[in-house]
Symmetry: C2
Subunit: 763 residues, 2 copies
């Protein structure tokens, strides 16, 4: 019996839902896994990037001659070495991309737009020589006033970053602006909805810039042969994206670039675009030698894409009996130096848990003199949900209702119109809210902080969150070895255990022990096109491709066995992994594989798919207890319980890991993380000592409660689990702080000075 089951039959899996040791685990914990920085080629050079010290400046002159003359320097490149690209959007797969912006973000041309903006690079015989040579590049800047945040950028007299920019999507206005685009979305009669409401809450929120904080900095080794053939080794979530973007920026056909993804030490959305790769290719081409580049932590924070800071206004009304009637939101998101914040999806996703009669959403994508933002786990949703979940909580308070009850009363369920209008299929939010309400963490009374905590106040909060989950394209092959073991090949870099999930899916389908299945992440030349590891799509979409490829193997096994028995393939079936004939004769896959040379050649299953009709959303919730130290403003997480609808948990430990990891990142965003710029627009905390991410001793064990409301479009019911757990924490913690202290925090991070100030204000 295979892994797939028709709807209605509770499937009985042998392997799915168990917790085998991950295939890449030992390699990683023993330090043997090969990360980008471990790649070493003969004759390899090391390159470093010259970065702008100014937030906004015109490059008047750039002279690299002294650097080029330095002994040990083998190549120098500047922005002019990249091909010119006509401005405008180009459709790449399902994404519109402004390649001109991307190119200028890789190496600035006329202007630099943020502290850390790359403008030249040097390849030399050692990183130290390269570093020293950077100091010999002479740059003459004309420093310009900077628009450091949304407010400044939207002010009437704001310094304009891109003089040709006109707002897309808003009322047509032919004047320079920093508002790259605007959208408005309305559904239902909002005025009537607010009219009907007994209580209306309207609040404003601000959230800071935060970084994904992956541990491994971006890196690349580029090798360019004399005929222009490029090989890249790099840490990326999307090797095919790196290939596509690099090819476009350098005007190369895709077949000229091979991207070999190394192991990846975290990405969280941040490793989905190019920073170093085109530079490394240029330098390797020019020097004729392989070139390695690794960002320092300072470069990571100054120059790779963080998420958007935002200003948000939410107005929500509800009737006395707990029915939320309507919502009116204003979302302004910082895009960084070039357009492209996640204001659209983030804003919409924050509203998805609720069934609004009427809603109105207004959104603005605004350029500021900060690094161009990149995706970060459920892009744009965490900060928006902080606002929405705070307002929902405040409504519950006004109405005297349990906050989970209020959410249950208004929860989206199958048939509810999602914010953008289409109806949800079966979703697990109601189940999740009911599980939260019944959970011991929610039902047990708050105990007082310990005796030494006289200044500590304890409170409990809840919030929920939503993420769409992506579909996109995946390819997989499953090869049966002559001894009956199998190899699963995908093009999805493994950032959350998906290698093992794919191996489990193949093992389940083929009736093999999971350790006899070898999962491999192949390079872009060795597997069919596969979209980015992101959007919580890999276990769902790539996993489905693996399932189909394994089914293809089974069909071939049946055909081969039937051929041996001289009967039709229809007459055989598979039982416990073996092919069984009508007379009960059996052949194991190993037997069939061993004789494949005499029955038609190797047995290789293959599948490619586009999963956009298969993807299904997921919901998460967080119950959190905090202690607020009213003397210092420090907030400690005392207990945390994360709940999530996984659809189907292929490997529950990794689902729990994703839930815990996402929760921790949400906690960091909520309490500590933010970019701090000085007056001149220079980043003041580009390091992990000053950019404060939570570490183990900041946190309690986070309990993870997995719910399984299967995705009916997926044969295994998988939804995707990676992103949504980051969404609830800021809202839940803000709500808990309010319960503890009576103070509503409406700015992220809720760091000690801010909490203290809010407490002082309240006094």
């Amino acid at each position: 019996m295979g892994a797939t089951n028709g709807a209605g039959n509770e499937p009985h899996f042998q392997i799915l839902g168990t917790r085998p040791i991950r295939h890449d685990g030992v390699e990683k914990v023993t330090g043997q896994a090969c990360y980008g920085a471990d790649v070493h080629l003969p004759g390899m050079l090391h390159a470093k990037v010259l970065r702008s010290p100014h937030a906004h400046a015109r490059i008047c002159r750039i002279d690299t001659s002294a650097a080029e003359a330095m002994p040990g320097v083998k190549a120098v490149v500047v922005g002019a070495d990249l091909p010119e690209i006509t401005p405008g959007f180009e459709q790449v797969g399902e994404m519109p991309i402004q390649f001109r912006d991307l190119s200028e973000n890789v190496l600035a041309r006329d202007k630099v737009f943020y502290d850390g903006h790359a403008l030249a690079a040097v390849a030399a015989i050692s990183p130290h020589v390269a570093e020293e040579a950077l100091g010999r590049i002479e740059v003459e800047y004309e420093v310009l006033p900077a628009a450091m945040d949304l407010k400044a950028a939207m002010a009437p007299d704001a310094p304009i970053l891109h003089p040709t920019m006109r707002t897309q999507g808003g009322p047509p206005k032919d004047e320079p602006t920093n508002v790259a685009s605007a959208f408005q979305f309305e559904r239902g009669d909002l005025a009537a909805a607010f009219e009907k409401a007994d209580v209306i809450v309207e609040r404003e929120f601000d959230t800071g810039t935060v970084h994904q904080g992956y541990i491994e900095p971006p890196n690349v080794v580029a090798k360019v042969d004399a005929d222009g053939q490029v090989t890249l080794w790099c840490s990326t979530q999307g090797p095919f994206d790196i290939r596509g973007l690099s090819a476009r920026l350098l005007d190369l056909p895709l077949s000229k670039i091979r991207v070999i993804p190394t192991e990846i030490g975290g990405g969280f959305g941040g490793k989905t675009t190019v920073y170093l790769e085109p530079i490394a290719i240029l330098l390797a081409r020019r020097s004729g030698r392989p070139v390695k580049m690794v960002m320092s932590r300072e470069e990571v924070l100054r120059a790779s894409g963080p998420t958007s800071g935002s200003h948000i206004r939410v107005k929500m009304g509800a009737t006395r009996d707990g029915r939320i009637t309507g919502v009116d939101c204003w979302f302004g998101y910082e895009a960084g130096a070039y357009p492209g914040s996640p204001v659209g999806p983030g804003g919409m996703a924050s509203l998805a848990p609720y069934d609004f009669e009427a809603l109105r959403v207004e959104g603005y994508d605004v350029v500021v003199n900060r690094p161009k933002v990149s995706a970060y786990r459920a892009p744009g949703t965490t900060n928006a949900a902080f606002a929405v979940e705070s307002v929902v909580d405040e409504l519950a308070g006004e109405l005297g209702l349990d906050p989970i009850d209020l959410r249950l009363c208004n929860a989206s369920r199958e048939g509810t119109a999602a914010p953008a209008g289409t109806a949800f299929g079966p979703i697990g939010l109601v189940e999740l809210l009911e599980a939260a309400k019944a959970h011991d963490h929610w039902t047990s009374p708050l105990v007082d902080p310990p005796a030494n905590g006289a200044t500590r106040r304890r409170g409990r909060g809840f919030a929920c969150g939503f993420w769409f989950n992506g579909g996109l394209q995946s390819s997989a092959t499953v090869g049966l070895n002559p001894d009956g073991t199998a190899t699963v090949v995908t093009g999805s870099p493994d950032i959350g255990g998906t290698r093992t999930a794919c191996a489990m899916i193949a093992a389940e389908e083929l009736g093999l022990p999971v350790d006899r299945v070898r999962p491999v992440v192949a390079d872009t030349d060795s597997i069919g096109y596969t979209d980015v590891t992101g959007g919580s799509r890999v276990a769902m979409a790539t996993g489905l491709a693996v399932l189909q490829a394994a089914q293809d193997v089974k069909q071939q096994l049946c055909a081969r066995a039937a051929r041996g028995w001289r009967i039709s393939p229809d007459e055989v079936h598979i039982e416990d992994g073996d092919v069984v004939g009508p007379d009960g004769s059996r052949k194991t896959p190993a037997e069939i594989a061993a004789s494949a040379g005499r029955t038609g050649g190797p047995i290789v299953g293959r599948a490619t798919l586009s999963a956009h009709k298969i993807a299904a959303p997921s919901f998460a919730g967080l119950i959190v207890d905090v202690d607020v130290d009213v003397e210092t403003g420090k907030v400690d997480i005392v207990r945390a319980t994360a709940l999530q609808d996984a659809g189907r948990a292929i490997h529950p430990s990794y689902v729990e890991g994703q839930m815990q990891g996402g929760t921790v990142q949400g906690i960091g965003w909520a309490l500590n993380e933010e970019y701090v710029y000085d007056e001149a627009g220079r980043l003041q905390n580009p390091g992990f000592l000053d950019y404060r991410m939570p570490v183990a001793n900041d946190l309690p064990m986070i309990e993870a409660v997995i719910l399984e409301v299967p995705n009916p479009a997926h044969p295994l019911g998988v939804r995707g689990v990676g992103e949504v757990p980051i969404v609830p924490p800021p809202g839940a913690i803000a709500n808990a702080i309010h319960r503890a202290t009576g103070v509503r925090m409406r700015q992220l991070p809720m760091s000690p000075p801010r909490v203290l100030a809010a407490l002082d204000d309240a006094d």
Copy 2:
């Protein structure tokens, strides 16, 4: 229109038959290609092998403690560290293998069987430390008498290598022997055939041990993770074979080993088995660090597999009118230390050009105290053809016939019973002989050697040759990139231009320029099972898999386009690479590929096959003019014309390259190459100064004449071209020496001292 054509229609190809620049050419000539010795991993150790200085000895004691205690030494292994294996044959795919022998050849147990036999290995922080540590391993030998060649090994009082060995296949005899196996094959009434003959020639021949002489020595880097997962980088013709052999020798499932084939600097059959790989795995496992091993040239010659030395007797009769009636042959082949010479295929192949009424073949596989032989280009055929083609030439002389006429008169053709009995399909021997006979080289008169060559005598000879060509299994995938370029993935290491041949086949089928197709040789985890690059099978079998995978892509293109037009796939067709609808609308592959995400996902074609019913044999011939210096015995090649039936020449330059390269290796075998052992059984010439291979200035330009008699079982007509050109040279040169001097050389190599001695004898 696609690349395939039905029989009878002369196909019109755009790309096949042209000579594009090879895809890997620039990388190789600029030194950027990554060979095994270029692989460098962090923390890597270097290992060296302790080898026996004796041809035959018992290992009484081996003490590695001093080596292990040496600073910098990280691991030491001896034979006992390899798992014990029960003697006996095991079927691996289509090959029976004695794994016990293979294991002992990797690391000796109780006895060493040849000078150079490995018995221990040391991994250390540098090759020098490892080398020094080898000297600290104490080994106590009991030196035994050695059987250094076939004659000695078959003598009644011969030292016995393996006391339990009994001859397989001969008359049963329960006594120790060095004759591992014997076979007899008879067809027709031989006595009657010789009765009928007017002339009978019976001669004996001896040929020495020669080595493939690949430039790049065997090498490996092994990485073993703490959970036992193995990755190997190595220079090999068969990554799946290395995986399978290593797995069996170390008792691992196939899924635990990934073999990444690096570029290969020659193989010629010699890189199809394991020498270093299991040792490197053991050392890496024991030390916990990656281990690199590279053989020195001395090790290559002393310890890797050369080809068989042989003793051959051929008796052949013919009638006055040039009809060869029967042949009676005796082939004794040296197997080296363990059984497994190519006496069977080699002996049979040497007879295949002729249509004998009756034949009798007797063959012996004999172990001797030399390294275990390995395959070498048309294994076992060159030395046998030297004998057969010499006798045919002598018959022609006796009969007063042109030697090509005699061959034409007796040539195998479609329907002729091949030596082992089955009838040939369409083959190109008659066409080849007619082309040779008509060639300017054959028809133009011999000119005298130049004036300064008063001691030189000039002669012309001809010989032909046959090789079966292998089928075996191959896999291929063809991925269409979103910009319409394509990637071709195979598992066949490229030793003769097959990467480009595969790209050309895909380009032809897909209507793409060949430089928009990227051919890739993938590792064993990233492509379906694929047999060795050997048997002249890759362009034929892997090429066919590529063709089928490209056809699979075309089908998908049609289906996607039809879907877009909302018609049935039957209603569209492909024209000049584009999909064309019934109303003349067109879609390019690039357009279809760019929107694949909306039409069902990535487009990847796949094929696996077993080609044993598709393989077809090929024939070669060589016309050669030689100058024999009667004072020194030195033979110079003055002019050489190689002819060969390629079936279909995908890339004529590579076919010519194979013909020229094979001819040169045959010339080396004919004139200079041989293993020279001293009395004690130590190899005296383990280096390229003393083991004399032909270099460019030894040779004239070799003209290559390609004939194309299509293989009807193959849609492109391909036969395979790599091996057969090595077969004719020794016979052709011996025949030319006879024409020049009147002397028949019946021993290889026909080196100056031997030629001089033969001239002296004739005087």
